[in-house]
């Protein structure tokens, strides 16, 4: 089990309850995941996201390489901007990982992977680089820099109070490198996040990140754990590996069924891994599609969990991929794959929970208005 360099600080100074996520021991919650969730929606909170993979790609063939690996047309990415999220598919058009890419220059990019897939993706990249003879070097920065996400409507205000008013000038998905915040230098600051709120993601050496966390705590910014991170992404309808997607074609439908959105797939682009299977899927039409489920008010306190089955008029129509409680909507919400013939938004659906049926509504994403 991997531990982030700052875990002791979270446990000893901030009272974090820890747990396992993606092969790492991470803070699960500090006080209450519902309090932390609402702090991000209404105010501002911060997450230690050092468990995510941070890779640097350098070389004359980086662009050809990433165009081959991902479904998005990355050529269009502007310098000092993130592109994504985008999907890396396998040959069956199942998703290996959903990632963000950062363009520093033509031959110098950064990639952020999901925590459980970091090693897999590094090996995958190296395999492709070798077999296709790309001039690309992959450097793993995950243990060199820690990373935090400052999220919430007051995030820009907080950055300003730390003397980093340039942060408010960053456009969405824009980033800067080697900037100073409150007297310390940070490797990268981007205007990005995974909560649906305004905010920043900051990479730095662990001492500098700890110093930043201390200052944020002084300013009343709430530390938030992975449970809140999950309920926040659920409200937005963002996907999580091994839940909404995975590589096994027997367990997960093709990437098109994911309805990932966010421009992750550029149909005009050709020559990427999984393209043939993806276009076949598109041509044949999809059997399953990913939808949201919102519990009816009467069953607000029921949370559908991964694997629970869905029924309409006694007919099996799909299964739950993720479930959580939405503190904003004050009810259980879930993501599911439904047989495309029954995927009618607004229609009710029955969820089998511990042998009994409870009804919810088929909803589109995001669950909350943003």
């Amino acid at each position: 089990m991997l531990r982030t360099l700052l875990l002791d600080y979270h446990v000893e100074k901030l009272g974090a309850d820890t747990g396992e996520f993606g092969g790492w021991i991470v803070p699960m919650k500090y006080t209450s995941s519902i309090e932390e969730h609402m702090a991000v929606r209404r105010n501002v909170g911060f997450f230690d996201v050092s468990h995510m993979g941070r890779l640097r790609l350098k070389g004359s063939d980086v662009i050809s390489f990433i165009q081959y690996v991902y479904t998005r047309d990355l050529e269009k990415t502007k310098e000092f901007f993130l592109s994504g999220p985008t999907l890396a598919l396998n040959q069956w058009a199942r998703v290996k990982d959903d990632e963000m890419l950062y363009r520093i220059s033509d031959e110098d990019w950064l990639v952020v992977t999901n925590a459980p897939y970091r090693e897999k993706m590094i090996n995958y990249f190296r395999e492709i680089i070798e077999s296709r003879k790309y001039r690309v070097e992959v450097e793993d920065l995950t243990f060199k820099y820690a990373m935090i996400a400052l999220q919430g409507p007051k995030a820009p205000e907080i950055m300003e109070s730390l003397g980093a008013s340039w942060a408010s000038d960053l456009r969405i998905l824009e980033f800067r490198m080697n900037e100073e915040i409150a007297g310390s230098k940070y490797y990268l600051v981007s205007r990005s996040g995974w909560t649906g709120e305004d905010g920043f993601e900051i990479w730095g050496e662990s001492k500098a990140i700890q110093a930043l966390m201390e200052k944020l705590i002084e300013k009343g910014v709430k530390p938030c754990g992975v449970i809140a991170r999950d309920s926040l992404r659920m409200e937005m309808g963002f996907v999580l590996g091994e839940h909404e997607y995975g590589e096994d074609p027997l367990k997960f439908p093709c990437a098109l069924s994911l309805r990932y959105g966010l421009g992750a797939i550029d149909w005009g682009k050709h020559g990427f891994v999984g393209e043939e299977a993806l276009r076949t899927c598109r041509k044949e039409g999809v059997r399953w599609i990913r939808v949201g489920i919102k519990m009816k008010k009467k069953f607000a306190r029921i949370i559908p969990r991964q694997g629970y089955r869905l029924f309409i008029e006694g007919v099996f129509v799909g299964w739950i991929t993720s479930g959580s409680f939405s503190p904003v909507l004050k009810r259980g919400i879930a993501q599911a794959y439904i047989d495309s013939r029954y995927a009618l938004f607004g229609e009710p659906v029955d969820i089998e929970v511990r042998g009994k049926l409870y009804s919810g509504k088929i909803a589109d994403f995001p669950f909350i208005s943003k």
């Binding site: 446990v11 000893e12 009272g15 309850d17 699960m28 919650k29 209450s32 995941s33 519902i34 449970i227 309920s231 607000a300 306190r301 029921i302 949370i303 969990r305 959580s324 409680f325 259980g332 511990r354």
Partner: protein, 142 residues
């Protein structure tokens, strides 16, 4: 009835000295006659946090020791409550249906889950004493 505060690492857990305990973090308290009230411990509620839903047992249902007697819905996961003893459910705390947070705020008091009528007082006596439960808590991985 005394509150014992157990310090483990930098966390404090409360154990009440007037009842019995199980390894799955339930408590059982013998009341008049052959009635036993059950609930979850402070350690259990701290692990679960943010309990937002409860499924209670049905009145008059018979449960055996170790049966799932209630289900707790927390943001993170669904947790099963195992009956510490065998008996018949005579009361279930309906208040928890609208106020599940009582399990977090008052697990030993207003957050009680059910009352059972038991037949075998021996089964109750064999449950962990507060001291044994405290020793058990100290040995667990935190």
């Amino acid at each position: 009835m005394t509150k014992i505060e157990v310090q483990i690492g930098n966390k404090k857990y409360i154990v009440m000295d007037d009842r019995k305990y199980t390894k799955t973090d339930e408590w059982a308290k013998l009341e008049e006659g052959n009635r036993v009230r059950i609930g979850i411990t402070d350690y259990a509620q701290k692990e679960l946090r943010d309990i937002i839903g409860v499924e209670l047992p049905e009145i008059d249902s018979e449960v055996s020791k170790g049966d799932v007697v209630a289900t707790l819905e927390s943001v993170k996961a669904t947790g099963d409550v195992y009956s510490p003893i065998s008996g018949k459910i005579v009361e279930a705390n309906e208040r928890l249906l609208d106020e599940p947070e009582l399990l977090n705020t008052d697990p030993y008091g207003d957050g009680w889950i059910a009352v059972l009528e038991i037949k075998d007082p021996d089964e109750y006596n064999k449950l962990m004493t507060p001291e044994q439960y405290i020793e058990y808590l100290k040995k667990r991985k935190h």
